[in-house]
Symmetry: D2
Subunit: 343 residues, 4 copies
């Protein structure tokens, strides 16, 4: 028998919200877009109309009260994430929250506690865990093909074109590199970050350096098993969107990410040319669908957040651990020295 469809409410109708909404309504059999919520007048209604969502709300209280909503996808601005997770969990909704789940460790704790208390699934949008290269690398640990990790690397480069006036301080750590911090942890299963040293600067927009913009950063992370991680980000790469990873262990190395748009190669008068991906929604299209499919599965299974299992999906605890690294990195830049990762 065909299984019944899971009703999902989308909270936030911006760039990521629209994309997640499209995934739910068009690429995710087994789920449907029950509602869209956004406080901006007309925004929710417009997106709900184009995606065929059942309802549009401007007040999230209506989402919490809607019995057709089994789960929420939170894609509001980052500063609202933790409160939204708490409210959604308290109303018994399963929660998928875009990264970062919170901006402080205290808020992260509140979010994790709320989901745990309510017994609802809580999954964070660390999408790379669902990208085929990263999933395949992680699977190597199961056969001991990597051994003990020694050197781990993760990098994120955006295609540029950002508005420096709209980049809050610490964005590069809390919103960009937090992906890489999670990847370092994903490629070093069971280990905990202990100390961080970060170097960051305004190299893309040097004129904004005095206003505190940080658009390029390198972060060294020491783990309690000795492994040394390096996370690196830049807000502008001329060639597009670029995400790569690598783990060197005592038995072998895995490398991930090549940024190609397809496997087709063109050779012409100028040499050999390979088209590169120009954005996250292109490079990680499959991963974005896969992470929501996994979320829908956990909603159907009624599984709450389980911090112990080393499953692919990122838990609230994973989000908190990545945030702790991000906060230490930001502090390291301010202090100009290595900083211990907060407990």
């Amino acid at each position: 028998m065909e299984r019944s469809s899971t009703g999902i409410a989308l909270i936030g109708s911006g760039r990521m919200g629209s994309f997640h909404g499209e995934t739910v309504s068009r690429r995710l059999p087994g789920a449907h877009l029950a509602a869209v919520a956004d406080p901006a007048p007309g925004a929710a209604a417009a997106l709900a109309g184009s995606l065929g969502a059942d309802r549009a709300y401007t007040d999230t209280a209506d989402v919490w009260a809607d019995p057709a909503v089994a789960a929420v996808v939170i894609a509001a601005p980052a500063r609202f994430h933790a409160d939204l997770v708490v409210a959604a969990a308290r109303s018994g909704k399963a929660v998928f929250c875009e990264k970062p789940m919170a901006l402080t460790l205290a808020d992260a704790d509140r979010a994790v506690d709320a989901a745990r208390a309510a017994g609802v699934p809580l999954q964070i949008g660390f999408n790379r865990r669902f990208a085929p290269d990263w999933a395949a690398a992680r699977a190597l640990f199961a056969n001991d093909r990597i051994g003990t990790p020694r050197l781990i690397r993760s990098l994120t480069r955006d295609p540029g074109g950002f508005d420096p006036a709209r980049v809050p301080p610490d964005t590069i750590f809390r919103e960009t590199l937090i992906h890489d911090f999670d990847t370092l942890r994903f490629l070093n299963p069971g280990a905990a970050a202990v100390e961080v040293y970060a170097v960051a600067d305004a190299l893309v927009e040097p004129g904004w350096r005095d206003r505190g913009l940080l658009d390029t950063a390198v972060v060294t992370v020491r783990f309690d098993n000795g492994a040394i991680g390096v996370a690196e980000a830049c807000f502008e790469a001329s060639y597009g969107y670029d995400v790569r990873g690598e783990v060197l262990g005592s038995r072998g190395m895995a490398t991930m990410g090549d940024g190609r748009r397809t496997g087709m190669t063109y050779s012409g008068a100028g040499g050999r040319l390979i088209e590169t991906a120009r954005g996250d929604q292109e490079l990680f299209a499959g991963a974005y669908t896969a992470e929501l499919a996994a979320f829908v599965e956990s909603v159907r299974a009624g599984r709450p957040s389980d911090p112990e299992s080393h499953r692919t999906a990122a838990s609230g605890e994973d989000a908190r651990a990545a945030l702790a690294i991000a906060l230490a990195a930001a502090e390291s830049v301010r202090a100009g020295r290595p900083v211990a990762v907060g407990k």
Copy 2:
């Protein structure tokens, strides 16, 4: 508003039928599996049950009569394809038919004529057209990046493990290489094949050579624009399933297909290791979904088969043209000389 769902009946519940059925029921929003039909007692019911199809039939007449069925996916044995296309078209159903659409040119003409007369869409399962590498290569023609094709190549290698007793003569041409013949045409838009020379042998199973088995073949195809194509197939490659293509034109070259399972690369004591795909449903998972998604779109649009447009989806006319090459190739092996492609 959410668009209504297109009811699709699956005809044939074997390996490809099951896979297409799964795609329709689980990976294809906008469509649902309205029915499964298979003459084998219990086969349709079993697959319908596991996939949540609404109905199961043993007689295709019930499919033709079912008003909930707007379109059919034909995945029965090849010898029934043409008759099924004709019957489905006459009952007004849109038709997606696995390759080969027919085994003779006369049957191919019947199928094409029936779809045209009924004004229903007719799409053939040449899935590579929907694989990203191949689609990207074809797109290069639009910008004149390739120029006039001179040398074109397409190859298919299966991972082996076939039962030689179950391989009818000409299978390698009519069921395997027909993909490559279509690819040669896809990479040489607007040109027609004029002459074929084929060499084929039983190299995987030499003991079956005397019984007419052909498991390895190389086919040279001359086109009316001068381009020379080479299609190559082998039923066993130790490393898995391998499909590649290449077109060299006056302005540039495109190469397609690398057979990797993912972009992850492992380096260990034995060197660098890359996992290779082990089957078509793995290597072309996305293409199989994309071709059915395109079919559903054409059903919704009510577009009939349009042989003139150089769209991605393969038409009945495309299927006939590939079949003509396959038949000439088989004849070339028997005659030991080049053979003109039938009109």
Copy 3:
């Protein structure tokens, strides 16, 4: 102790002659350029001067008589090759001859017989055997990593810019594809070609088709062990000089050749860009040196041509076997049918 230097005479001071001369005088410790010979007035003297050769001759008889010359490198026009090999061998000189060694099987036999009778080394300039990819592929046979070859491929594409008025008939078979025919044999050790079918046309210079120009060709070669080879050539590839090979056997596949200039990859606003090689002397620089180094070694060792050993260097017998395929290919184009390879 430093070993004494081998005196080499260069015969022919054209494009390949100059390059081989440079290799001998500048990149080949253990040998020196004892003489340059060319009938064109002043040509030998000019090249000898720039390369520091000891002597310049316009008459090859002077080379044969020169006691300082232990070995010759023949890089004269192809129609003189066989006579030069015979004369050099008779005078007791070791012989390195550019491909093709001869233009008829009778001439090939004369050349081979002369070297054998004189007991001098005879090596032919099939340089790919010394390119790292090809040598590594061949080495796989020693460990049975390939198994029995089934499908073999070799292609050569030149960067274009040729003068159609100066391309004699059959050039594509006797001077270009003869490399690929040798490669097919190199990748199918111990097997003999039995039948050839060739398709060829003037696709780069269609205006010269009526004058018999063949600038693009595909040749299917059947071997006595069942393996099917495909050799392909085109006189113009927009992206440069391209040589690739592949052998699929019962146990595994080897692929050779990627045409990159270096391993450096550039990514910029236009995507990812890889520089491609623009000529044979660039792509095979190392192989050209390695083949002459091997020749010098055989001169020092005093080993005559040994057709039995499956060594890397191509013997006169190898050259004859490749020529037999080339002649059959040319005949196949004229006859429009498969042609048996001459004994």
Copy 4:
């Protein structure tokens, strides 16, 4: 006319000395091995015999006095390098010195000053500058394809098998990573390193951690043009010897190094397999020859060390600058904080 041969004396007959000696005597036309010097009884004579050197010395004073020696290649233990450079320069010999040129900045200054005062060429063995990928990356700066560097990376991984008892403290910085520090500078022309932060540990041989072994390290280097460099090393990679580089600039990115032994790829039952290089003398065979060929050219040209030109060959000033980074990195590990690069 053939140019006269440059007489070179090799100082040190260990692993690198033997290899450089072989290069001089067998792969470097235009030069010959005039002498080998080594204080160990019999060592110089043995190597001189096998390589055909003219003379063997146990006392370097004999080298300085030998008029047949125009240049020296210093491959003695690192702690003797600076004194040997000074003595060789004072006796008017051109100097090629293996890295590191010195172990202290004062010694580096002495060496540079001696070469400058004597007006002799001084070249340091930073071989990657002569490897094709790195040279091609550097060439991109000439056309402004890179723009202003933002993120630079260089890594070195050895294949393991070292004896921890024989690894002095700071070896990873002064003998291994010094290559990478030079590469960071080579990929950031004209910029100077200002601050370094290093993390290092005994991860390959944890049992030796207490004795001060450092076998794995990550070093962050800030440059005065804002660029951030990361140098990384590990003394053991299961898959072999691995050297890679990358520079991301405002206009584009170059990546270098893929560690393949050849371009041949094998596909078999285990997937796709690529042989990896197992040592520096294999991976950088061509670069080792090219750097000595460049040195011989500078000896012939009589050019002294020119620190201003951004030529490929590394000068004494380049060696000093890389040493300053290495010393700061070692200090950073001891102090647990970022350290300014010494002037």
